[in-house]
Symmetry: C2
Subunit: 227 residues, 2 copies
């Protein structure tokens, strides 16, 4: 049950170094971004690295651990906000960053559901989200609640978005929409009408609308919580 993050990689003061935890994680990230978690196998990863499958297990205890490391690598790409920014623009910008991570690494959101994110980069990110809220005068609990609320929205949105993106391009209806519409036209005309509305597939706008809603809701509370 112990996380990879609780113990360092194998000591390693040796020499060979054709393989390394960093190299493995890097290549695994490539393959995850390209084909997702299901398609990544230790054997294919090893082949890609020109190594035997079991060689990876010297540097990484298990496949799940490797994925946890890759997840944390994603959080490492998260751009930290300016240290003196006001909470609202800072929060808004961080949530855009979060969504961009989700678009760049489509397997990320699914990973959230299966693994705990307690790596150093994940914690640094969470910490930096807390900071502007605390500086605005919120209590620890209130800051945590606010951050949790917006990032729940963003991850939930990304979860749906990753699903659409998986079948077909961005900002356009999925290819099998016609069949779905035919199936449900008599029973759920409202629903089918929605499917045929192009505005529904403009995900950028949907995200912006939702983010505005959530931040507005928080803004109304910040004043009260601060006093």
């Amino acid at each position: 049950m112990d996380s990879v993050f609780f113990s360092k990689p194998r000591p390693g003061s040796g020499q060979p170094l054709g393989l390394s935890r960093e190299a493995i994680v890097r290549k695994a990230m490539e393959m995850l971004d390209a084909h997702g978690m299901q398609k990544l196998s230790m054997r294919k990863l090893a082949a890609e690295l020109g190594a035997a499958p079991m060689s990876l297990y010297w540097h990484v205890p298990t496949k799940d651990a490797l994925i946890e490391l890759c997840l944390d690598e994603i959080y490492g790409e998260f751009p930290l906000p300016a240290p003196d920014a006001d909470w609202e623009p800072a929060l808004r910008e961080m949530m855009h960053s979060l969504r961009h991570l989700a678009l760049k690494h489509p397997w990320w959101v699914r990973g959230i559901g299966e693994f705990n994110s307690i790596g150093p980069n994940a914690v640094a990110m969470a910490d930096s989200m807390l900071e502007p809220m605390l500086r605005a005068g919120l209590s620890t609990a209130a800051a945590a609640q606010s951050v949790s609320t917006v990032s729940s929205f963003v991850t939930g949105f990304a979860l749906a978005e990753a699903n659409f993106a998986a079948r077909g391009g961005m900002d356009e209806p999925p290819p099998d929409l016609g069949k779905i519409a035919d199936l449900y036209r008599e029973k759920h005309p409202r629903y089918v009408e929605m499917l045929n509305d192009p505005a529904v597939w403009m995900l950028e706008g949907q995200f912006e609308f939702g983010l505005d809603c959530v931040i507005d809701g928080i803004k109304a509370r910040v004043a009260a919580l601060r006093s």
Copy 2:
């Protein structure tokens, strides 16, 4: 790429009927609720049903298809709101229902990330979410945006909650919190302080706070969108 829902189960006007799509789905749901998607195997499911593994494949084309059927079964449990309810209480109640589904079937949220939800029950649910918003005078696109926003929040919240719930009970800190706190105490004291705040682990309250935020944000827009 065709969904299970585009074609009916095998014809079946025969006799044996020791096995059936319904029985298989029912038992699969039990096992999914108990142990999650990773642990469900066609072999174990067949054993549980007292059948040979390959027998299942007469009633169900594939394991993924079976999971899609189970997912839709979950949506079938969603209680539809009163047909004349005001949009705000209706939406609020539906989102509570959604969260209860997530707590009852912890694998559900992860399933959203991997499968499209276009089964009859999923569509009926989506349709019933749209209805109160449209009745309040919103356009199709505006109604869809509003619903998408709140349900993104709920699924994102459920995603995190399912993860906590997987390791330890509800409304209490995870067992390995001590180790995590020790790891990051010097580098991210703010974060560790948050982890130690009991209010952070009261998920019920967190959910309520977030839902209030999001619905408030939407409420502010409903007036404008309606005119």
